[in-house]
């Protein structure tokens, strides 16, 4: 079992080979929300072409870091700790900084109830990032 961290954490069945996290291709949607199709890496109606498909594989298994790299999302693996952290899509941040579209997110409130930015569409909002530190 390996923990995949993106905007949340999920545990997926995986084999560790050195610093490589190897998963069965059928578990890719659970791990990352994308799946490998003949036309490339796909999610909903979006597909990203994969130039070197063989480079994603070690034997029959997918190298998760190679998949995230193909999506232009860097990752950090700690095999000893059984964890891989994957960057969020950088195009969402660029959309925020250049096109001024607020990237969507979903986070829990202090009672654990999830909320999305979209809940407050139609209102003027101040996003106020703060911290205890």
């Amino acid at each position: 079992m390996v923990t995949v961290i993106t905007d949340a954490e999920r545990d997926v069945e995986a084999v560790l080979d050195g610093e490589h996290v190897l998963i069965d291709p059928t578990t890719l949607p659970d791990a990352l929300g994308w799946e490998l199709k003949p036309e490339g890496l796909c999610r909903e109606d979006v597909c990203v072409p994969v130039r070197d498909r063989a480079a994603l594989f070690v034997g029959e298994r997918l190298d998760l870091a190679a998949v995230t790299a193909a999506l232009h999302r860097p990752s950090v693996v700690d095999a000893g700790a059984g964890v891989i952290a994957v960057a969020l899509p950088s195009e969402e941040r660029r959309r925020a900084l250049h096109d001024r579209q607020a990237p969507p997110f979903t986070l829990p409130d202090l009672d654990g109830v999830p909320h999305s930015l979209d809940e407050w569409r139609g209102r003027k909002k101040l996003l106020f990032a703060f911290s205890s530190w």
């Binding site: 961290i5 700790a81 941040r93 900084l97 409130d109 407050w120 909002k125 530190w133």
Partner: protein
Amino acid sequence: MVIGIAIDESVDDVRPWTDGIEFPVLIDQQHTVSELYAISNVPTVIWIDEDNRIVRPNGVAFGTDTVTAFTGIESKPHLDLIRDWVRNGAMPETANAAVEDLSDDEVLARLHFRVAAHARRAGDTETAAKHFARAGELAPHDWTIRRAAMPLTGEDPFGEAFFVMYQEWEEAGRPYHGIPGEQAGV
């Protein structure tokens, strides 16, 4: 309306700060919003309109004057700008200010931070310390990385470690992703 985003490890860390607060407060344990919006310090305020368009990007701003003696930033000019936007639709001068994208290292620092925080929650303090340190090396002037790691590694975020980071940050020219505090009221 205000939406509070607490860039904190646990609900228990946040609760002491939310007493009597009526607006929604969300907890961002994975620093998701800090990555999506390129936030490098708190407090950072972003104005977002009815259609979820960013009207005024990341900016240093305070709701009160409790830390004005240290920061030199007064709360009123920014609050006046907000009132003028809400009531009259007036855009501040800084509406189109550019926010620098995160560097590759600053993105990697966020990943190391997440691995470290995960390891810490699992009780693996050695792995946590290694990745917190790497995150700090990659983004030495990012407060959401280095200062956020202080309470998670047994350091006081208001003590010596803070002042060391503050001095380095000053010497580096006060890097910040967004509108600096001197322009809070502009």
